[in-house]
């Protein structure tokens, strides 16, 4: 694993602002008229945080995630990554190609329904071409794919098709794939939504390991009970932040 910029040890004293959401508004045009999914969201997210975006179905959680990855266009406002230093990027100001390159290097995406190609084995799923600029130039090496499968403890299944492994194992493969380019930011949309509690626990353990490495994870969930798992909770109601638990690095990490 390559080094990620900041390790969590020094975070409590010197938190690094990673993502700045400034008055983010998203309006969808529909046949029935305009629908405002996000009504001006502002928040500062720091490197090394495990952020839970919590809210009911339709609250705007996934839309907020799409604003952070640049998967969908913003109506107004700004999403700035690495604000205040040389690599500061206002991602919605980038061209489509530049945004794809930025995303490919900086963001790993995980979905509730895994989105693995069932006709490819696990290694091939991870080695799939990764988009940097609209071309399939960058393939992950087989060694790297196996190394990532090791990280999620699935190296013994490397050449199986997804049909032969469980839902929890599929999600671990999806996590391994999201790490292919060693991105500092992982976004996960209901990653435990189709898993039982015990299996969900194994996913959280991996996430916590990734946080220890200094990565930042932003996870959407409708499940309020998961709240204590996060180091930061954003409660979204009706397109707005209803409450924000604020930046806080847990004691265990501060003591390191």
């Amino acid at each position: 694993m390559n080094n990620v910029n900041s390790s969590s040890a020094g975070l409590a004293n010197n938190p690094k602002l990673l993502i700045k959401l400034c008055q983010v508004v998203k309006v969808y045009k529909t046949a029935a008229g305009d629908f405002t999914a996000l009504k001006g969201i502002s928040a500062d997210l720091y490197a090394g945080e495990f952020v839970g975006v919590i809210g009911r179905s339709g609250a705007g959680k996934t839309t907020l995630l799409n604003m952070i990855t640049g998967a969908d266009s913003i109506t107004s406002g700004e999403v700035i990554v690495n604000p205040g230093n040389g690599s500061s990027t206002s991602i919605h100001a980038l061209s489509e190609n530049a945004l794809a390159v930025w995303r490919g290097r900086n963001v790993g995406i995980i979905h509730q329904s895994f989105q693995l190609l069932p006709m490819l084995n696990l290694v091939e799923n991870i080695m799939l071409p990764v988009d940097f600029s609209g071309h399939y130039r960058s393939r992950v090496s087989k060694e790297r794919a196996i190394e990532l499968l090791k990280l999620v403890e699935l190296e013994d299944h490397a050449y199986k098709l997804p049909a032969y492994i469980s839902g929890g194992q599929k999600q671990r493969v999806a996590i391994a794939r999201s790490l292919a380019n060693d991105p500092p930011i992982i976004v996960a949309d209901e990653p435990t939504g189709s898993l039982d509690t015990l299996t969900a626990e194994t996913i959280f353990e991996i996430f916590e390991k990734l946080i220890q490495e200094g990565r930042t994870i932003i996870m959407v969930t409708h499940d309020n009970n998961l709240g204590p798992r996060f180091t930061r909770r954003l409660l979204i109601i009706d397109g707005q932040i209803d409450s924000d638990s604020g930046f806080h690095i847990p004691t265990a990490q501060v003591q390191q």
């Binding site: 998967a71 969908d72 979905h111 989105q115 190609l117 988009d131 609209g134 399939y136 049909a163």
Partner: protein
């Protein structure tokens, strides 16, 4: 029949699939035989756990049978190595999934190019244009450069179908393709499938949505790992799947040569007959008068129920049409009676048909001066 000489595009022969787990052994498929000719649009339906997705996985070669054979275009797909099969699959099957399985970091256009890249079909220079044409065909050219997250679920599934078409495979299989969509989006998906069938593609989909099976050419019902006889399912649609399967087990199969007599007027009737293939004629005949044909019945239709329900001898003769043999299944009297006791809905439906047929019979008799 032509089909006896031209093998079907897809043939399953005695396919058995057993799963072993910590709780023991589970038989998902119990010797399934299926023939699917080119350009059919087939729905596989069944309750959750009936074996429908397993059946689909046998056809795509994503899973493998415990015993039995699967032939696609005459090729036994389980005699290939895993990697040969992967390549074969890429060229011959487009697969569509309930949860789309689009790569989240790639645009719809890039997702559509993926199979061509992976199977190395069409030249690299052709691929972007072909992907765009496919997206145009499914009405997504405006969304082509968006990521899956930025379009609706229906659009994601539509893109997944475009991707399934990328290598121009003759067969498309889809597992609950509309299971996650609203009714309007699923209508559009089925409409798209219909267009592909018109272009000569063969489509097999697993679904539990009855509004979809109405729009496919053929429905295979699977119950407890077995396929229900299609004629039984057509003739007795109000039976539960478990009861249809029981009838499938109880019937005797018969073949009658062209023009052959099945029931003679005035004789005792001791079976309920369902037509599997061919046509039968219902006729009133006598040595004194000219013969009167009351009607013709075809596949999925039945006869014999009047006498079994009302008692008494046959009120008309039934024989195979003169031009082709007839294949029938026959349910013995005792089993027919038990079936009606077990399914009041079926009894009610059959009674209505009996009344209608008796009325038709009487009016035909009066017209021809029989009475």
């Amino acid at each position: 029949m032509n089909s006896a000489y031209t093998p079907s595009l897809i043939q399953l022969r005695q396919v058995v699939k057993r799963f072993k787990n910590s709780a023991g052994e589970f038989v998902a498929l119990r010797g399934v035989n299926v023939d699917i000719p080119t350009s059919e649009f087939v729905a596989i339906v069944g309750k959750s756990g009936s074996g429908k997705s397993t059946l689909l996985n046998m056809i795509t070669g994503i899973d493998h049978p415990t015993s039995g054979e699967v032939l696609v275009n005459g090729v036994n797909i389980y005699q290939m190595t895993e990697s040969q099969r992967a390549l074969w699959r890429g060229c011959n099957m487009g697969i569509v999934f309930q949860f789309f399985q689009l790569m989240p970091m790639l645009t719809l256009h890039e997702n559509t190019m993926l199979p061509m890249d992976y199977c190395n079909v069409f030249s690299p220079a052709e691929r972007p244009e072909r992907a765009m044409e496919l997206l145009k065909m499914v009405g997504l050219e405006q969304q082509a450069h968006k990521l899956p997250a930025a379009v609706s679920s229906g659009q994601q599934q539509t893109a997944a179908i475009a991707r399934a078409m990328a290598t121009d495979p003759p067969i498309i299989v889809a597992d609950e393709p509309t299971g996650n969509l609203d009714s309007r989006s699923s209508d559009e998906i089925i409409e798209l499938f219909n267009r592909l069938v018109e272009q000569g593609k063969t489509i097999i989909l697993v679904t539990h949505d009855p509004s979809i099976t109405k729009r496919t050419l053929r429905t295979l019902i699977i119950s407890d790992g077995e396929i229900i006889d299609e004629a039984v399912a057509q003739a007795l649609p109000l039976l539960s799947h478990a009861k249809m399967l029981k009838v499938t087990h109880l019937v005797k199969r018969m073949e009658i040569s062209p023009g052959g007599m099945i029931i003679r007027k005035g004789q005792n009737v001791d079976n309920f007959f369902i037509i599997v293939r061919g046509q039968v004629e219902i006729v009133l005949e006598s040595s004194k008068r000219p013969e009167v044909t009351l009607g013709q019945l075809g596949p999925g239709e039945f006869f014999g129920e009047i006498e079994l329900i009302h008692g008494g001898d046959s009120i008309a003769s039934v024989r195979a049409a003169p031009d082709a043999p007839v294949e029938l299944v026959a349910l013995p009297h005792k089993d027919f009676a038990e079936m009606l006791v077990g399914s009041p809905l079926t009894e009610e439906a059959l009674s209505r048909i009996v009344q209608a047929r008796l009325a038709q019979n009487r009016s035909a008799d009066r017209r021809t001066g029989w009475w």
